[in-house]
Symmetry: C2
Subunit: 340 residues, 2 copies
DNA sequence: ATGAAAGCGCTAACAG
DNA sequence: CTGTTAGCGCTTTCAT
């Protein structure tokens, strides 16, 4: 069933060629020759390595050292720019001795226990879970160092990196109320995403503190995609405006794109009639029309933090822990003074 | 330096607990017990496996079987939605026994020989190179089954999956000329991307066949990002219009987004004054304003093909080879009849 | 049907 | 400084 790999030179081949022992080859190949191998033999070994195009077999190396070297990254949707950025951040920071593998939910949309079980079933050095929901977390027991990203949840046996949702909510509330908005609507997704809940609550709280409010029931979507948000918004936007809503905040920029499209299709002027803002500033938020006001949750930095944390946990550089990243509002054209 | 992995049950632990040999445990754990182990013992072993939460150590397993199990994916920019889609396709199709790891270019932007060398230095089961340039390909020698994606290049020792650029160019030329456009401009990127060159040439050829032409020197960008395209377009768009250009085609949708922004900023009406079209239909192409006419190069399917091809090469299911995917034009609002 | 034993290629003591 | 040796955990003949 499985193909025999292309024959490759082993340490023994090199040893025989050069006339030394495999131990010496190992030392040289791993750059641990300093003070343990004569420069002369070292050179000869290096020549042999080049000649045979020898490369250390990482599988054997890992086994001999009793170390796992694969970290898995699982996100709800690798196609979502937010998670692409996170992924880039991780890959960039993760130590070279560790390799990152990507898992995708098998059933489309969001990921469920079975996706994670699939990960847990393998033998991983570490696991990074992006935006896992609460019930998902409750249903799994970590089998290796695990980092939760933007989960809004805390588990004693897992490290986590979160976003400063409080500040995000505060900035957004400040911005909107400052523009005269009092009646705001919220678009989120169903599912048990604590992080999205936290965003909503932080916003709500700060809004109320300023004499404004989330004045209508949320629009709750089943999936976090622009298309679904478009459909959902098409159904409620006009009514919201009738009810005096002047601004809508979306739990994620992807959703905001859909709301923007819906408004355009319904002939609703953004921002003159309705302001729109989102969470999770994406590369496209500056590009849609009108450009979207958004809270930058620094996705790439989120990934980078996770990468560093994983290095720490796995290579002993640093202890596991919790971190929170700063959020910052980016005001663009999709928000303006409330009508009236 | 490296942390001792959390202690985990080994096959021997299970064997001792149950009172059988490790060989039996191996058979059962790998589902190869049929006809070689009594149902009774099989049950007892399974119970032991569950009790100790035993999972096969894939590292040892791979070593014993003399097989590598990691396929690497390297793309110029994991953040570009096109490559995210490709990645998703691969991960989705790749056999469960193989794991996919992602490498990113260390120096930002595009990837150079050093990034690939980094990949080649490890011991991989396979390698997938997304949109590699010609000089890059000339500078490397494959050390494992390698698949070229959308490279527009052919190498005897590497499989490849390409896009049907001819049809793409034909459809785009047809569309534009049909709308009355005769003087078209092209926006591409420098670098030795054969695939981008092919797109341009296919378009050019078909344009000429229809009495139209690429009437001004290309705008050649240094990087394939929206921001760079925006800057570049800002500098040439007005002149192009003065020179009678009525449509601009971009080698990639990401570039088209920049051109769209530039036009808006310059007060150029798209599509009334200038039509804009791109290659590589992305999820955001329908969302930008005006929605972008684009050639769908089916990124996800490109990845899926690569995944299947890799399964074939590595698991012996099928031989390596070359494939070409169909392209198809998606007309949207960014193109309309030529002015005048 | 089950077990014993020989490695896979490498690393890490330990001898010399 | 260099070689010998003993595994890492698993798979796979080959006996029994």
């Amino acid at each position: 069933m499985s193909l025999t790999p292309a024959p490759r030179a082993t340490a023994r081949d090199v040893a025989q060629l050069v006339g030394v022992s495999v131990a010496t080859v190992s030392l040289v190949a791993n750059g641990k020759a300093a003070g343990r191998v004569t420069p002369q033999t070292r050179e000869r070994v290096l020549a042999g390595i080049r000649q045979l195009d020898y490369r250390v077999n990482t599988t054997a190396s890992a086994l001999a050292q009793g170390r796992r070297e694969t970290v898995a990254f699982v996100s709800p949707d690798p196609t979502n720019p937010f998670f692409s950025l996170v992924l880039e951040g991780i890959v960039d920071e993760l130590d070279d001795s560790l390799s990152l593998t990507v898992l995708v939910p098998s059933h489309g949309d969001d990921y469920d226990p079975s996706t994670v079980q699939r990960a847990l079933a393998g033998d991983l050095a570490g696991l990074v879970l992006a935006s896992p929901g609460r019930t998902l977390l409750d249903s799994i027991a970590p089998t290796c160092p695990t980092i939760l990203l933007d989960s809004g949840e805390t588990r004693v046996d897992m490290a986590s990196v979160d976003l400063d949702v409080e500040t995000a909510g505060l900035q957004l509330a400040d911005h909107l109320v400052g523009l005269g908005h009092r009646r705001v609507a919220y678009v989120g997704v169903g599912r048990d995403k604590a992080t999205l809940q936290h965003r909503r609550e932080a916003l709500h709280e700060q809004l109320v503190l300023r004499g404004a409010d989330l004045a209508v029931p949320d629009l709750t979507l089943q999936r976090m995609t622009t298309a679904v948000a478009l459909d959902g918004a098409l159904a409620v936007l006009s009514r919201w405006i009738d009810e005096g809503i002047t601004a809508v905040v979306c739990g994620d920029d992807l959703l905001a794109y859909g709301v923007l499209q819906a408004a355009r299709r319904l002939g609703i002027d953004v921002p003159a009639t309705l302001s729109v803002a989102g969470f999770n500033d994406l590369p496209y938020s500056a590009m849609v029309s009108p450009a979207l006001t958004s809270v930058d949750l620094s996705a790439r930095e989120l990934g980078a933090s996770a990468g560093r944390a994983m290095n720490g946990m796995l290579l002993g550089t640093a202890p596991a822990g919790r971190a929170t990243l700063r959020a910052r509002l980016i005001a663009r054209e999709s928000t303006a003074a409330a009508r009236g």
